[in-house]
């Protein structure tokens, strides 16, 4: 299964991935029109301390604590992708409490959101990886050597 892998030595800290992610979640319209001047709500997060930077998004764990701990049964694993049923979720934040990587976040629409590999918007080509200018974010089958 293809997943997102991140090579921090290639990350420029430009945060384009955050913008592309937020825009994909809002329907992939004209990015400038959709996002300019707004607080964005991406599922991917860039960590940056001025020296190093890298992006973090859901790892689609084989032992997903978010799914196991979900009090409503709204999180399931479909073909290896950890997905949230927004219709069932009540926004209790137990998944946010459980994810060791900080990859589940409150959503601007009231409940929670996480990376679902763009299955729900661009049909499965993660926008962050597609638009990373330096290929620091890869969407592949292969692990990335450390």
């Amino acid at each position: 299964m293809k997943k997102i892998f991140v090579q921090e030595e290639w990350c420029l800290g430009c945060r384009l991935c955050e913008y592309y992610c937020a825009n994909a979640n809002l329907g992939n319209g004209d990015m400038a029109k959709t996002l300019k001047g707004k607080k964005i709500h991406p599922c991917i997060r860039v960590e940056d301390d001025g020296r190093i930077s890298f992006a973090v998004a859901c790892r689609h764990c084989e032992e997903p604590l978010c799914k196991k701990g979900c009090i409503t049964g709204a999180i399931s694993v479909v073909d290896g992708v950890v997905r949230i049923d927004q219709n069932k979720c009540v926004g209790c934040y137990t998944c946010i409490l459980s994810c060791p990587y900080g990859a589940v976040v409150p959503s601007e629409f009231g409940v929670v959101q996480k990376c679902e590999l763009c299955l729900q918007n661009t049909g499965g080509t993660p926008s962050c990886a597609a638009h990373c200018p330096n290929q620091a974010i890869l969407f592949t089958d292969e692990e990335v050597p450390a």
């Binding site: 060791p100 900080g102 990335v144």
Partner: protein
């Protein structure tokens, strides 16, 4: 191999899924007193508030039992276990044989006796879907609701009923709300928030007696105040349903005693969830950690062990108290324990906008023992993992993490294991 599971909630479902990870073929029989399809117990207050419905409250899809090839005997109660004959005896007198058995019977609410309590016809506890369905019918816009207990269940009930009733008053012997998960300051923040939404509190007191006068019930409190009410909800605590194991000769304490594989002291009998007592790795103490994520994980570990020939290498040894709960949009996230003592450094701060963060750092062991966040939920799971894994932290690392929870505080090797590997290993 035939597995019998008693219960149909988080721990039982975790067990079904754990068994099925090991074996598609083993036989599974699931027996539960409640006649409903598996539902999310914590959502019963959301149901009253109109935030879920009878379809969405289901913990697993309608197809769950069929897809997992489970024979579900819903509406049946187990009254005894016979570990020698390896049978579970039903109320109907029927015996069901097993090779491995899981007790996932959860907990039951306790009602302490008080003078006149037996006269209160409209007394209810609040732990089942039946309770929610009853209250949905019984509580009217003119009803005055009195809730005994300002813990998690009492306050969730108060939140769920507020929009349906004329008034909701909560009484608790403890001087603060949510005393089992919050220290004084965050409790005061939450109490004020709940008060602003219209919930009335009488704390540090209890109902000395109940009586009926004219058309209403009355509770006379220890501190002299009298409260008139139409519905009484008793939410003063729950007790583990451990009697099946106890009566069969198994070891029980405040809950059924289990090891890291969820095994009881009886051969081939496992137990998981709210009915058990297990090790809290954040404090090293044994306790009942009656929370849904623990119930699921414990049930799953039990299932994997039950179905694996020679036992599964997976075990559940990393239980900690952890809780995410929100009231009227304000969220509390907490995990671990809040110890005091010389070796504990407490970092507490309010953000001036109703948010709060507090960390309990163990200086002797260089690790985070516990935390409480009101609002500021982002990346909280990073703190939870630090508590659960007892990750050694330098003072500098902890200071960075406190300011900014993230993977950046860790070494490049740790980050690479998370971000470059297929199965993240943190």
């Amino acid at each position: 191999m035939k597995h019998v599971i008693i219960g149909n909630s988080a721990a039982a479902i975790g067990c079904v899924e754990g068994i099925r990870r090991q074996s598609r073929r083993d036989e599974i029989v699931l027996i539960a007193s409640e006649a409903h399809h598996s539902y999310s117990r914590p959502l019963i207050s959301y149901y009253l508030a109109g935030r879920t419905d009878l379809q969405r409250i289901k913990y697993r899809p309608d197809s769950f039992y069929k897809e997992n090839n489970v024979t579900a005997m819903l509406g049946e109660t187990v009254t005894a276990l016979d570990p020698a004959k390896k049978t579970a005896v039903l109320q109907t007198g029927k015996s069901i044989g097993y090779d491995k058995l899981l007790v996932a019977t959860g907990s039951s609410p306790v009602v302490f006796p008080a003078e006149g309590l037996e006269q209160v016809a409209h007394l209810r506890t609040f732990t089942t879907l039946e309770d929610a369905l009853y209250l949905e019918q019984a509580v009217r816009p003119q009803s005055r609701v009195l809730i005994i207990g300002a813990g998690l269940i009492g306050l969730k009930c108060a939140e769920g009923l507020l929009g349906r009733a004329a008034s909701v008053t909560v009484v608790d012997l403890a001087p603060r709300v949510l005393s089992s998960i919050l220290s004084a300051k965050p409790a005061a923040i939450m109490q004020e928030h709940l008060r602003q939404h219209g919930i009335r509190f009488c704390l540090g007191t209890s109902a000395a007696k109940f009586y009926r006068y004219r058309d209403a019930y009355h509770a006379q409190l220890q501190d002299g105040e009298t409260i008139a009410f139409d519905h009484l909800i008793y939410a003063a605590g729950v007790r583990a349903n451990s009697s099946l194991v106890k009566e069969a000769g198994g070891e029980t304490n405040r809950g059924i005693v289990v090891d890291a594989f969820s095994r009881t002291s009886l051969p081939d009998i496992y137990a998981a969830g709210d009915c058990t007592e297990s090790l809290d790795v954040s404090s090293g103490e044994r306790k009942v950690m009656a929370l849904l994520p623990n119930a699921y994980l414990q049930g799953e570990a039990a299932g994997q062990h039950m179905a694996a020939a020679g036992g599964s290498p997976r075990s559940f040894s990393e239980a900690i108290p952890m809780n995410a709960i929100g009231f009227f949009g304000k969220h509390i996230l907490s995990a671990g324990t809040y110890p005091s003592g010389e070796e504990i450094e407490v970092f507490e701060e309010e953000d001036g906008e109703g948010g709060y963060r507090c960390f309990y750092f163990n200086k002797a062991e260089n690790r985070l023992a516990g935390y409480i966040l009101i609002e500021h939920p982002v990346c909280a799971g990073i703190y939870t993992a630090l508590v659960r894994e007892r990750t050694p932290l330098t003072a500098e690392q902890f200071a960075r993490l406190r300011e900014n929870p993230g993977l950046i505080a860790f070494s490049p090797e740790v980050r690479a294991a998370v971000l470059r590997k297929k199965e993240a290993q943190a």
